[in-house]
Symmetry: C2
Subunit: 333 residues, 2 copies
DNA sequence: TTGAAAGCGCTACCAA
DNA sequence: TTGGTAGCGCTTTCAA
């Protein structure tokens, strides 16, 4: 590996001068600059960023701790983070923790030792202990979550209360008055709590007494599939099911289909999240789209502002959702 | 930030000794060790990995250059890379290049300057120029591709010729003799070429004269959806369509469904890739599963072996595929 | 405009 | 078992 020393020697100048031409930090005479540049070209010299980091105390490294990269919405966020981070010359060190607290702690420690300048946490829920550790060890951090019981850390989120209310309102507008909500784990998280609240309040606002919350075993396709047996029992009594996420909705629709029921003729189903699949199911799924790429982009942008000392950077941000009308709802009017 | 110097001063020993207890590199008397450890605990001292890297000349950094992180199979590979890499104490620096050659070159240069110890390229196709640059600038690299016209770089792949032949054989076994192949861009890539070859050779082997290759505009859902008009014209003449990827297959199936045709009753459809959606379509899609998590895991494992000087590490690896029989094929026997 | 030299935080060698 | 010290590759004063 060629070093700055080699370049200096070969071009007959001091390493200070070489440093100056590399960084354009101080005036260098044209002839000297030219000579140095030639040597750099010849040797293929590239400055060692590790050494540079050591002296400048800057790593341009942003750590991303993520629970599960195989969720497509998380991958989309990471994409936003990576792309925008790179625009500002920051690199992304990816850490997958798979819901393991110990792993999260290890990653945090590692990122600190690697001199990461900021940390982004992505996930529905992280442990308070972790959040405390992040606040304590890291200068700058951002947190994407739906479970905001902890307002002491800067975060970005989407207003799921409003989104849920809007979806419910749409269903009512289509003439539905017997609407059920299919939840993943009940009201165990703030996020889910907000959605159910949005659903119930909109019902109340429209003087609808009927409400019903199904609670599935989990949040995956299979859980939705399994819940269909419950839904089928209520057929006729319930005319629409609002699922807390698209995967659940697709599982439900498929089971309904497999048992010979038709969506939306026999029952309407809507989802939340606008997963890619939602356009591919039959019927296509009416849902709420959340701008995950943008969430990632805004998150990293904000973090970088903080890193670079912008005091005006907003620290809690709410991004808008988008209502996607497709074909899984029957108009009862 | 506490440094090794501070710890040394506060515990009344030399920095050499502190270094020894941190790294367990040389014997230290129990009392001294205890004292140092206490100071470390108190101060929350964490060794600066940047400084460490500079002197040890090791970064434990693996760069991953990936075209598009939003492909779920790529995300799955990255997951495998990350998880296994971490087991061996390596970190992953993620670089998304979105098919932009200049970006790829920049990433490569950056990774070199950051002293990355190895590089993994993931994508269907990378430019020869890039591959040359990787070989020239980087000590160790691995390349995941289907388009292996360049055998001079270590790579990992999956034998799509065999996979395609097996799928064709299965169709024949189910009594189909008028089987079409739905390709994405025709034989433009080695990968696609291999698949079509597998399809045709298996046909020939079974003395079937009929063969037909549809070429779609691209490889996405919409392209498959659009191709359905062609397929519908051939209904009756063609009894099964082998799609080069699941997304195409799902698009095709959906259009067929939208036009009132039934799969597999009116026509059988199979895919390739085992995308997550393939279990959610109706009918569920018979396809070929490729072990992307494993691909990532094996890739990074091999790279690390090379980094750590294991001469016996195999440099070109072929991973097995897996045939997934589901419900999109009608038995004609 | 240039060079010499200090020092970033650490490891590893040599002596004691 | 310990401490002193050179040096990793670079940036950045300070003087010239």
């Amino acid at each position: 590996m060629t070093t700055i020393k080699d370049v200096a020697r070969m071009s007959g100048v001091s390493i200070s001068t070489v440093s100056r031409v590399i960084n354009d930090s101080k005036p260098v005479s044209p002839e000297v600059r030219k000579r140095v540049l030639e040597v750099i070209e010849e040797t293929g010299y590239r400055p060692n960023e590790v050494a540079r980091s050591l002296v400048t105390r800057r790593s341009y490294l942003i750590g991303v701790i993520v629970n599960d990269l195989s969720n497509s919405y998380i991958a989309e966020m990471v994409k936003g983070i990576e792309e925008v981070g790179r625009m500002y010359n920051y690199d992304i060190l990816l850490c997958g923790s798979y819901y393991d607290r110990e792993a999260q702690m290890n990653h945090l420690s590692l990122l600190n030792r690697k001199q990461a300048e900021g940390i982004i946490l992505i996930g529905y829920h992280f442990d308070d202990e972790l959040i405390e550790a992040v606040k304590k060890n890291t200068k700058h951090s951002m947190y994407f979550t739906r479970d905001i019981k902890n307002d002491t850390i800067d975060h970005i989120s989407i207003n799921s209360f409003l989104a849920s209310a809007e979806m419910t309102k749409y269903l009512i507008g289509e003439g539905h008055s017997r609407i059920a909500f299919l939840s993943d784990f009940g009201e165990s998280s703030t996020h889910e709590h907000d959605k159910i609240k949005g659903y119930k309040e909109m019902l109340k606002e429209n003087n609808i007494n009927f409400s019903k919350v199904y609670v599935a075993e989990g949040r995956r396709y299979n859980d939705g599939y399994a819940m269909a047996t419950e839904v089928i029992k209520d057929l006729g009594n319930v005319t629409a099911v609002f699922c807390t996420n698209d995967e659940l909705a697709i599982g439900l629709i498929n089971h309904l289909f497999d048992d010979g029921y038709k969506v939306p003729d026999d029952i309407s189903v809507v989802g939340y999240g606008d997963y890619k699949e939602s356009q591919h199911v039959r019927p296509t799924l009416t849902t709420i789209s959340e701008p995950f790429y943008d969430v990632g982009a805004v998150t990293v942008r904000t973090l970088i502002k903080k890193i670079e000392g912008d005091k005006s950077a907003r620290t809690t941000i709410e991004l808008p959702y988008c209502f996607m009308e497709r074909n899984s709802v029957k108009n009862l009017n």
